[in-house]
């Protein structure tokens, strides 16, 4: 997994042709440690720190009126204004695209980035919205009845990607 994250970090820097105006933003909850590791890799590679932020998308979900109980809300923390910056959104798994849709809406309420990119550790397919990732750690073809679970040392005590039957 660390190799995949390092590769994602390199790809972000290459696509952006450097660190100019770059901000890495992890989507709560598993996007946060992955984004943090990418920011650390980039900082080590380029020798200059890259700003890192956290986005909570709960209040922007499109299923708030249908799920019960309402999910827990935590603060969003952005290191600096995002106007005219290149924001790299980071999440663990790209599936229906609905989380990313919510993240885009949440992000736009904080300003007008010059560009928004999406980096995900796993792309498992089955999109329900016209959304794609710019940087992908690994593409994993799945069946809709399978569940992908990303475990990270920071939150689950180990690094692991599991494909399970529902």
């Amino acid at each position: 997994m660390n190799r995949a994250i390092r590769r994602m970090a390199i790809e972000v820097v290459e696509k952006n042709r450097g660190l100019d105006d770059l901000i890495i933003v992890g989507i709560r909850s598993r996007g946060v440690p992955i984004g943090e590791r990418m920011a650390k890799e980039i900082t080590e590679m380029e020798g200059t720190p890259v700003p890192f932020g956290i986005l909570d998308i709960t209040l922007y979900r499109d299923d708030l009126t249908t799920i019960a109980p309402n999910p827990v809300v935590k603060p969003t923390k952005l290191p600096e204004p995002i106007d005219d910056k290149v924001v790299v959104l980071v999440d663990d798994v790209l599936y229906t695209g609905r989380t990313v849709r919510a993240a885009l809406d949440a992000l736009i309420d904080f300003g007008r980035p010059r560009k928004v990119m999406l980096a995900v550790l796993v792309d498992r397919g089955h999109r329900e919205l016209p959304i794609h990732a710019d940087v992908i750690g690994k593409t994993v073809p799945t069946d809709a009845h399978e569940v992908i679970k990303v475990k990270l040392t920071e939150t689950d005590d180990e690094d692991e990607v599991l494909i399970m039957e529902k």
């Binding site: 909850s29 909570d56 709960t58 209040l59 922007y60 979900r61 299923d63 708030l64 009126t65 249908t66 799920i67 019960a68 109980p69 309402n70 999910p71 827990v72 809300v73 935590k74 603060p75 969003t76 923390k77 609905r98 989380t99 809406d105 949440a106 309420d109 904080f110 300003g111």
Partner: protein
């Protein structure tokens, strides 16, 4: 998208008394997320889009009504304000009839302030909307106690084990009742102090220490919470004069020295300067968190609206 299972058991917030310590913690934790929303350039999130909240204020209120209204707007709910004066209530309509007529407009939530204790409960028993008690007589004012707890926790990082003294018009205060319920549930040590005429009989049964001198109450306190003398709720004064009340129970800088070094001063507002609190204390930026209480009120009310809004588990 991951969903955590913690939630409130009821779809109403009628008081602090029915809440568990876990539910109180959930509301306070959620409010932390919402405090950040009020600091953004765009202070609005779409969480309650398309939901109608009616603010039914049958008794005077500025702070609470305005705070609820801001909270509702920041959650993108549609709001409708209904006050007793200038409405059909003046023409003799009963509360139930008023509420049923409003209900015909299909609100998702009703925030109610009423002079009679139990009015919110009566609505909750009859209407399909979520009911939030914004103060009912001398019974409860749950969102005030929650915002007080949030403010204390923000300063001290905890509630358990703190010495909290509540001083003033205990007898007529719904704020104090909600606060005692909340603070004792969260394992804080609560002391109340007032002239004997302003202390209700058997209040010790709520698990508080009762003293009759201000100095005794302030000694070693982490939080000094002053209550307003509610002149409008008293038939006649329960003490000889306002001047004498200030001299015996008014909080002055000298008296505050008996409190702990990091003690904070709170007041639910509106303040009667020179009656229960000296201006020098109320305006002391280091000690007084009175304006932080108002700011936090919006975040706490957003949390309550959010947790009660959305879909409901079938009860």
């Amino acid at each position: 998208m991951r969903t955590q299972t913690s939630a409130l058991r009821s779809r109403h917030l009628l008081g602090i008394e029915p809440l568990s310590p876990e539910e109180i913690t959930l509301i306070l934790d959620t409010a932390e997320g919402f405090k950040e929303v009020s600091e953004r350039p765009v202070k609005k999130v779409p969480a309650l889009r398309g939901q109608l909240v009616i603010n039914l204020f049958m008794e005077a209120s500025t702070r609470t009504r305005v705070s609820f209204e801001i909270a509702e707007k920041r959650l993108s709910a549609d709001t409708l304000n209904f006050a007793a004066s200038g409405s059909s209530v003046e023409k003799g309509e009963t509360l139930i009839d008023t509420a049923e007529n409003l209900m015909a407009m299909h609100p998702d939530m009703i925030v109610i302030r009423h002079k009679h204790p139990g009015a919110p409960k009566m609505l909750a028993d009859r209407l399909p909307a979520s009911i939030i008690n914004a103060g009912d007589g001398a019974h409860e004012h749950p969102t005030q106690a929650l915002l007080d707890a949030f403010t204390i926790r923000e300063r001290f990082g905890r509630l358990a084990g703190l010495n909290i003294s509540i001083i003033g018009d205990i007898a007529h205060s719904r704020v104090v009742r909600s606060n005692i319920h909340l603070l004792t549930k969260m394992k804080a040590n609560v002391t109340i102090a007032a002239p004997p005429t302003l202390i209700p009989a058997e209040i010790e049964k709520m698990g508080v220490r009762v003293v009759h001198s201000l100095d005794e109450a302030i000694e070693g306190a982490d939080v000094v919470m002053m209550l307003r003398i509610q002149l409008e709720r008293q038939g006649k004064l329960s003490f000889p004069s306002l001047r004498e009340y200030y001299n015996t129970f008014g909080l002055t800088p000298e008296r505050l020295r008996r409190a702990n070094r990091n003690a904070i001063v709170m007041h639910p507002g509106p303040m009667n300067r020179g009656v229960e609190i000296a201006s020098d204390v109320a305006d002391n930026a280091e000690r007084s968190v009175i304006l932080q209480q108002v700011t936090n009120g919006v975040a706490v009310r957003m949390a309550v609206l959010y947790l009660l809004g959305g879909a409901h588990v079938v009860e």
